[in-house]
Symmetry: C2
Subunit: 325 residues, 2 copies
């Protein structure tokens, strides 16, 4: 255990699939971690109860009382009202509307509590502790089931006027493309995310095309994942290779937009899909260099994110330490 | 003439069509103005000579010597190297590559000279003097032949790492759309600009569709302009109305992207096409409200720019006064 437990931040990453908890030292070392399933479909009350239980458990397991903490900091997959500390809405947490999570947790544990959007937390983490250290203008792209984003301008996290800036996954790149659940059309995440990849594989195999993937999942197409598509592509399966190439192209198209709009010094690409590495990133980079303005494309580095699955808790810890209490 | 001529900025707006000059008071009143044609096709040397002659003329006409000026400030339609004061490249000024315009003018007149991209100048002007006063996060969109943009973040003009940020006209909104001269595909300005409108009208009439426009230009399709399409639409011509509606939709799609990415407090829409007013703006606003994230769309105002054709010279004057000499 840490020498000065009073300085620990208890960081929580509240996602649609799991609730991760961590104790984070002042040097941003994760000294303890735990997680449990969110079971988001049950709605806000049971999820809030599980989140509180998860906090209690990691405290009990390490014999720490809440008053010894620097604070509790929650990175959540949803839109945040910063002033009031609410989760106003979440695509990944069904039924959450204006839930006063910051107050609930703060009242329960009697310590300063912080609430930040998870993509913004990841951006803060990547800038302070990860690949983006020292980069003035940084875009942190997280490509998983969807595409999340965080924007650092002149070294500071950019919130925009409503607090919701950075929804880069929901820029239209195909005006005639599929409808997105967000209400927009042809969003980047409808075309370049993990969900887009598996949807395309299921669609094409469903239409009767041959693929190694069909054998790999023994005909259960719902078992197709990004990892399986990657594995099939690496084994030479043409359909899987085409899908990876298509996803990389779409990824590149969105990067062109970000480079032309922001001329950032760096764009980091993280999230589940980024594990594919250069299989995905190199063709996307190439397309970006071909199409974006030379002045901007010649200075931007497109690199893998460094923090991995701990981006959320680390970013939440940074947020707590940098915020005024 | 101004009481304190020593405080005047001589502002120049160097565009692809004309070179505007103005004497601008410390209160940002345009106390004198002049212009001449750029004749850009002749290449950089004759254009630079005309620009210098234009500066000499407005000085002579008002009996001002260069040393009485606060400075000379040039807003130019092109990519700028801020450090070295070069126009590195310009889509509207053929043959311009790394022209050291700041040094040339400064050496010729012996006064502090400033050089800024024209869309950035317009953004600065609109923020300090126009519709965007007091707005922390502002996007200034200029829709003319193309689409230019300037971004104000937390009250400051945002340049990005290379200085070229704000090329919002060159974000892909239709990945399967037409190739743009910039090297990208399906750019916003290929679909929502004045050039896009006239191109579409010429195409459809060329294919044999009926339109009032055909009579208005007596069959000379190259004479079709945005103004004529607007006039035909207001007179009830179905083809012109469809083209205006289509342009407004595409305009709205780009606004959705800007709102989701930046969550600005305001977006101003200026330039030649914006003269159409709500015929264009209202359907674009409606689409934006339908499709963008509610948290962001509920706080943003989409309004006409206020500075009109003087945005360039006024913005250049602001830039000169706010820059360190």
């Amino acid at each position: 255990m840490e020498a000065v437990p009073g300085e620990l931040v208890l960081a929580v990453d509240l996602g649609g699939t799991k609730i991760s908890t961590a104790l984070v030292s002042p040097q941003y070392r994760v000294v303890a971690r735990d997680y449990q399933l969110t079971l988001a479909a049950e709605g806000p009350q049971p999820v809030v109860a599980r989140l509180i239980a998860a906090i209690e458990r990691i405290l009990a397991d390490h014999s720490i009382s809440p008053t010894q903490l620097h604070g509790i900091s929650i990175a959540a997959a949803g839109a945040i009202d910063r002033e009031r500390g609410l989760i106003t809405l979440s695509p990944n947490l069904p039924g959450w509307h204006d839930i006063a999570l910051r107050e609930i947790v703060s009242a329960r544990f009697g310590v300063g509590t912080f609430l930040i959007n998870d993509a913004k937390a990841a951006a803060l983490g990547e800038h302070r502790l990860g690949a983006g250290q020292g980069v003035d203008n940084l875009i942190v792209v997280t490509v998983g089931t969807g595409i999340g984003g965080g924007i650092i301008i002149n070294g500071s996290l950019y919130y925009g006027t409503s607090g919701s800036a950075g929804e880069i996954g929901h820029m239209t790149i195909d005006v005639n493309g599929p409808k997105c659940a967000c209400g927009n059309t042809g969003c980047w995440e409808m075309l370049a995310s993990g969900a887009a990849m598996t949807r395309e594989a299921v669609r094409r195999i469903g239409l009767g095309e041959n693929s190694l993937l069909n054998e790999m999942v023994k005909g259960r197409l719902t078992d197709i994942t990004g990892e399986k598509i990657e594995a099939a592509a690496r084994r030479g399966d043409p359909l899987a290779q085409q899908i990876v190439a298509r996803t990389a192209q779409y990824l590149g198209v969105g990067l062109v937009n970000l480079v032309n709009i922001f001329s950032p010094g760096m764009i980091t690409v993280g999230g589940g899909l980024a594990k594919m590495g250069d299989l995905l990133l190199e063709p996307a980079r190439r397309l970006m260099r071909e199409r974006a303005f030379h002045q901007a494309s010649s200075v931007v580095r497109i690199v893998p994110a460094q923090l991995g699955p701990e981006a959320g808790v680390l970013g939440a810890a940074v947020f707590a330490r940098e915020s005024d209490r």
